[in-house]
């Protein structure tokens, strides 16, 4: 069994911090960390924040964006909580990227406990786990927003808000980031969706730049092969893909829209799932985005 405790806890002083962190307001005097500190990994780094209660859409988009950025050797900094944070760490790891987690508690306190595996995976993949608190400090309500200043402070490129409610920690982080002079990006969401209200608010009030593709954050001309998927010889398959491109649908809705009966349709969907063209979850069929 892999135990993260075998990684030694080290301490780093303010003078050795990456330059972008030194200048922030309330900069901590020192930080505890596990892993191998190297200021190079912060040269190209992005903070990703968002709701703990992520929607399927948020999950898909953060997966897509973070993976694309991680491939381009951008370090992903996030807060290790469940929801968007965990998803961002995971997507970065999946692409072999470096990811940094800033905890809201001490380094020996595992919050949330489900993320134990993620903890040592980050360390094994040259990442860092950072905290400004003593090693056994229990996270509290105020310590989470506290650590957010470090999350955004460490980033060189800015912060990306994936999904956020109107009164959420993510909006607080966005405000802190602005005060630190960082760039703030936000992904737009569906109107009326509670976890999109915050991000849409940021965009509407010019508090954040709208992001619709990873290139908006970091440009390095790479052509996405998204469109290639929509070419298929089978007319029914094309019809299904066309409908799914608009929104995810349940089997019945698909049946009504395409006019094909459920027996034939479910046979087809199974085949398409096998070919990784679609994903089924919670009774709905989604277009496979990755």
């Amino acid at each position: 069994m892999n135990n993260f405790r075998k990684w030694e806890i080290k301490k780093i002083d303010k003078k050795d911090f990456p330059p972008q962190l030194k200048v922030i307001k309330n900069c901590p005097e020192f930080l505890y960390y596990r892993g191998n500190w190297d200021n190079k990994i912060f040269e190209k780094s992005l903070a990703v924040v968002g709701s703990r209660r992520m929607s399927r859409y948020g999950q898909e988009i953060s997966k897509k964006m973070v993976s694309e950025l991680a491939v381009q050797k951008i370090s992903i900094i996030s807060g290790f909580m469940y929801g968007v944070d965990t998803q961002s760490h995971l997507s970065a790891l999946e692409m072999g990227g470096i990811t940094i987690a800033v905890l809201g508690g001490g380094l020996n306190v595992l919050t949330p406990p489900e993320n134990e595996k993620l903890y040592w995976q980050i360390l094994e993949n040259k990442g860092l786990i950072i905290s400004e608190y003593e090693k056994d400090f229990q996270p509290t309500l105020w310590s989470f927003p506290q650590r957010n200043r470090i999350v955004s402070g460490l980033s060189s490129l800015g912060i990306l808000v994936v999904e956020a409610g109107l009164k959420s920690g993510s909006l607080v982080t966005a405000r802190i980031a602005r005060e630190q002079g960082k760039k703030v990006w936000a992904i737009p969401g569906q109107i009326g969706c509670s976890v999109a209200e915050g991000t849409n608010y940021l965009i509407k009030n010019n508090l954040a730049k709208m992001v619709t593709e990873s290139g908006d954050i970091f440009k390095k001309s790479s052509k996405t092969n998204q469109e290639v998927i929509f070419e298929s010889l089978d007319p029914l398959e094309n019809l299904i893909l066309k409908e799914l491109k608009v929104e995810a649908l349940s089997m019945d809705e698909l049946s009504i829209k395409s006019g094909v009966d459920v027996v034939q349709l479910s046979t087809k969907i199974s085949m398409m799932a096998l070919e990784e063209k679609v994903v089924e979850e919670n009774g709905k069929v989604y277009l496979n985005s990755v």
């Binding site: 209660r53 089997m251 019945d252 479910s266 199974s270 919670n282 009774g283």
Partner: protein
């Protein structure tokens, strides 16, 4: 003088002949004693019998009356010995003449002498036929239960006066005409029709497959998506009860007193929906004098459990073995009984405690731990015994209204025709294999021979196993469901399209 009257006691699903010996002594102080492991209900027969006899204008002898219910070591319960005891007293005191012929008496008396509805009359009739007893006297309210049994005369009795008049030769009771069970089976009506449910075509298709192969079903969906309604319509597409099956079910219903007064054998497949707080004993059966539980009452029918994960862990585990065996043995101090329980399990659940996980309109209010705990209950051995897993999405009412014309709704009757045809194919297939009646009953060793896959189907199945990380158990379940889909398609060999459709009903949780 001593008189011996025959009656019947029920033990589990078995009926046993008992002798009710009544002695009205010429000497001794007036008294009325009942012996023979009688329960409180039987003890109290003294007051009912005495009053009923007097109220029927007969004389209650002022003498020492002793009643012995033999065999003495068998516990007797229920009020159904009132009539035999009353007849014994009247005969012993020479007020009526019962003659030499063997007769069963059975029934509870009310104080004015009328007979009440009681449990187990159907089993009594079957026993009478076995033992060669030609005549039975039972309460009119439950006489129809007995009237389906051939070769016996059933005398429906309204009150004590009628029986007395019958044996005094004053006015004979007319025996009931035999009721043909076949004609009863055909007059079946459907309680809920599938055509009444708008949309949900994929769920309907899944239930059709489940009905055709006898597969257990698991329905997951947010509140209001129609899980309960779909399950209630399920009995309507199940094949009708065969005569043998119907008698099995009637036995169980007769013994538990679940047959409505005046009606005869059970013709509809049982649909039981116990609440999730039902105790383990209530579900499985038990008690000091073992009685059938919900799983036995659902024999040959459907056991529907809503809010499945809310069921206590003990009940969930207790369900496992009976589901596998098709019967349940209950041992108590009083003895051991075996109840049949071949049912189709339909379990329904919300995706999370609040019900809205993954819903596009409403936000889920549960935290991660709650969801993890909830779904932990949904994994494990019990879920492994369920072949068809289905997600029922919430229905968008607006869309239903707009697309009303485009939605085709089949009647339950049409679906049932296809189900019956598929069951017939299975019956032929499993003629030689004991204990297997439907595809769901197939054991893994049968699959190779009885569920042949064509090459393309085989490749597809292997692909799916790799892609979706399917376990060996899931693999076999997939083949069984594919077999049923092929049967519905009237195909001897399982083709790739059948497998592809069956893949829709696998567990689709991530990790």
């Amino acid at each position: 003088m001593l008189t011996k009257i025959l009656s019947v006691a029920n033990l589990g699903l078995q009926a046993l002949e008992i002798e009710c010996e009544v002695n009205v002594a010429a000497k001794g102080f007036p008294a009325f004693t009942i012996v023979g492991l009688a329960s409180k209900a039987v003890e109290e027969a003294r007051e009912r019998v005495k009053t009923a006899i007097i109220n029927s204008d007969m004389e209650f002898p002022l003498a020492k009356i002793t009643v012995n219910l033999a065999p003495a070591d068998l516990p007797k319960d229920g009020a159904c010995y009132d009539l035999p005891i009353a007849m014994g007293i009247l005969s012993s005191s020479n007020q009526i003449d019962l003659g030499e012929e063997k007769v069963y008496f059975f029934g509870e008396l009310s104080l004015d002498g009328t007979l009440r509805h009681c449990r187990g009359v159907f089993l009594l009739a079957i026993l009478a036929k076995e033992k060669g007893v030609k005549k039975i006297f039972v309460p009119r309210l439950c006489a129809n239960e007995a009237a389906v049994v051939e070769g016996i005369e059933v005398f429906p009795v309204d009150n004590l006066k009628e029986v007395i008049a019958h044996f005094r030769g004053e006015k004979k009771i007319r025996p009931l005409k035999k009721i043909e069970s076949e004609e009863l089976l055909e007059n079946m009506r459907v309680q809920f029709d599938f055509s009444e449910i708008l949309g949900q075509n994929s769920a309907k298709r899944a239930l059709e497959i489940a009905a055709a192969g006898g597969h257990n079903v698991f329905l997951m969906g947010p509140p209001g998506s129609g899980k309960t309604m779909l399950s209630r319509a399920l009995p309507g597409i199940l094949p009708p009860l065969s005569e043998a099956e119907s008698l099995e079910v009637t036995k169980i219903y007769s013994i538990t007193g679940n047959i409505a007064p005046g009606s005869s054998i059970i013709r509809e497949r049982p649909f039981r929906s116990p609440h999730h707080t039902t105790s383990q004993i209530g579900l499985i059966g038990g008690g000091s004098n073992p009685r059938p539980g919900e799983i036995t009452l659902a024999h040959r029918g459907v056991l529907f459990i809503d809010e499945f994960p809310e069921l206590s862990r003990g009940s969930l585990e207790a369900l496992r073995q009976p589901m596998e065996d098709g019967y349940v043995s209950i041992s108590r101090a009083a003895g051991s009984v075996t109840f049949p329980c071949q049912f189709m399990l339909v379990a329904a659940a919300n995706p999370c405690p609040c019900g809205f996980l993954g819903d596009s309109k409403k936000e889920c209010r549960c935290n991660v731990h709650q969801i993890a705990n909830y779904q932990k209950k949904l994994s494990g051995p019990i879920m492994d015994r369920i072949d068809i897993h289905l997600t029922v999405p919430a229905v968008d009412v607006n869309q239903l209204m707009i697309n009303k014309e485009n939605i085709k709704s089949e009647k339950s009757e049409e679906i049932r025709k296809r189900v019956v045809a598929a069951r017939e194919i299975q019956r032929q297939r499993f003629l030689k294999i004991e204990g297997v009646y439907s595809n769901a009953d197939m054991k893994n060793k049968h699959l190779k021979e009885l569920a042949k896959l064509d090459d393309k189907a085989n490749i597809l199945l292997k692909m799916a196993v790799n892609k979706f990380n399917l376990s060996a158990r899931t693999y076999f379940r997939l083949i069984k469901v594919s077999r049923t889909i092929a049967d519905l398609d009237n195909s001897e060999i399982i083709l790739d399209k059948h497998v592809a459709e069956a893949l829709q009903y696998r567990v689709k949780h991530e990790d």
